[in-house]
Symmetry: C2
Subunit: 347 residues, 2 copies
Amino acid sequence: MKKITRNIVFIVSGALAFGVVPSAAAFEALPKQPPIPKDNPMTPAKVELGKQLFFDPRLSSNGTLSCNSCHDVTGSGTDNRAVSVGVGAKTGGRSAPTVWNAAFLTAQFWDGRAATLEDQAKGPILNPIEMAMPDEQAVIDRLSSIPGYKEQFAKVFGGTNALIYDNVAKAIAAYERTLITPNSAFDRYIKGDKKALSAAALRGMKEVQAIGCTGCHNGVNFAGPALPMGQGFYQKFPTFTDNDYVKKFKLDEDVGRAMVTKNDADQHMFRVPTWRNVALTAPYFHNGSVKTLHEAVRVMAKTQLDKDLAGQQVDDIVEFLNSLTGEFPKQTLPRLPGTPNTALINE
Amino acid sequence: MKKITRNIVFIVSGALAFGVVPSAAAFEALPKQPPIPKDNPMTPAKVELGKQLFFDPRLSSNGTLSCNSCHDVTGSGTDNRAVSVGVGAKTGGRSAPTVWNAAFLTAQFWDGRAATLEDQAKGPILNPIEMAMPDEQAVIDRLSSIPGYKEQFAKVFGGTNALIYDNVAKAIAAYERTLITPNSAFDRYIKGDKKALSAAALRGMKEVQAIGCTGCHNGVNFAGPALPMGQGFYQKFPTFTDNDYVKKFKLDEDVGRAMVTKNDADQHMFRVPTWRNVALTAPYFHNGSVKTLHEAVRVMAKTQLDKDLAGQQVDDIVEFLNSLTGEFPKQTLPRLPGTPNTALINE
């Protein structure tokens, strides 16, 4: 069996190399506001425009898929499928991460290949197995054909060249920064309401520290320590490979971040995902191969910490993880601008 | 050239057979409330449940399509495609009609094969080229796996057997009866605001009467006269077939209502569609073959009335049709109940 120590796990993560020492005891409430980049300030008009774009299937080649199709904000912020279904029923190899609280992450996608929400938003629109627009210009051409968007981009971003792909991404990211779920039972507990957590959840809270889960799942989003925006917090998954789970759930078939960096040191490295609302985001892991949270807890303990958990431990940890389901803000349904008297999608 | 008189058009429609004589001068404002069936009274809790179901992709076999995917209430109530894309990227032959104001229709689907919104809602969920659920029981099994739905069905419909397919349809229909767009410029004009319509729209308003369009497009929804619920108002389309449009737009390839009734008299008979919000619902006709409203007006004049319109006539009629775009009610985004710790879609 290949065993490595916790320290080595942290070293390969690159976290120590940047002087950040994760704390295993870091329990923090979720702030109500995420970091806002200086070059993309939030305004109500920008958020409203971004919401329209987020819900608009005309950002896909055949007009059938919006951002919301796979990151459904009426629910978990995912599509609750193993992998998403793109234009033409194409599928990829990775599961859609939740958009809820993604604004707190310092890198996006499972492999961290986008530094910011703005960078992330640009990807799926052009991905041939996702929304499948041929190129940035095609997106701009299409949005420019919608009078209501032309007006809003001019108003929100100003100038004569407001409807550009960078601004599409900025508007979507501004909306996504409103998708925050504060006031979970855990958050209320941390802020002093000692009755907010059940006895089982409190036992689970101790377990995740004692076992070592919070060595990585810490910080406000339980996705790692605070790092500069653009610097992801990565871990090798699976770390311990000599167990049945790895083969059963095909956990070692995706080389993760190495696909982006072409660096062998990044083989099987993935951005540590959030625990917030994890009760709602099944199926689990980068390939969506594990259908229940109980099984996911067992798999993580075995593959990352080489531990076999007792049934009670798993139950308690799941109870704790359930306490991380937050309050979802009430939203109005957007109204998408039309193309009066004309069809925009011609197929 | 095959010519038939207007009277014959009405006789084949079946309208006269039921003693209803359409009035060519019938201009009526849209009521704020549609007819409510006695066996499905509206309650806020039922409407809210119906909205959740309308937006829930778990009503499709692979969890990717909701009612809203093809009848998008963030926009025109259609998908603005020629034909919709179902599970597995399958497509059919008919364009999705708008859900806005569908509550005023006395028959649903292009061929009127559903008498009510309740009947209609049951169709696409089970259609193998649409949402592709295998059967009613599979829908009930899936919804029964979602605790939040079980609770709501019990609360809304009562009894121990509340989660049945009939009630799924009732809840969706109750929500759809809130999708009404009053206060269009036309409606304000009819109610006395004589400045609500432009000079061009007023010319168009006279044209549609003079040419004969309102022989069929009359009533509150411009979809025909008031008929008993379940009795559709049908017309033959195309009526005049000796023109280039019929071949170009493949208008005679679909036998329409005859597919349902197996009655030769129903060959090429279609439910007369609404004019309300028609500016937003391109592309046009049962097969979505016509991309602009200007062209649709020319096609209708030629195929139904054997008339070639001048450019000014077309422009004026389009201006009038644009005055039928109503006010879309503000809605809250639904929150779909989850399946904590478990994936519901297993593929």
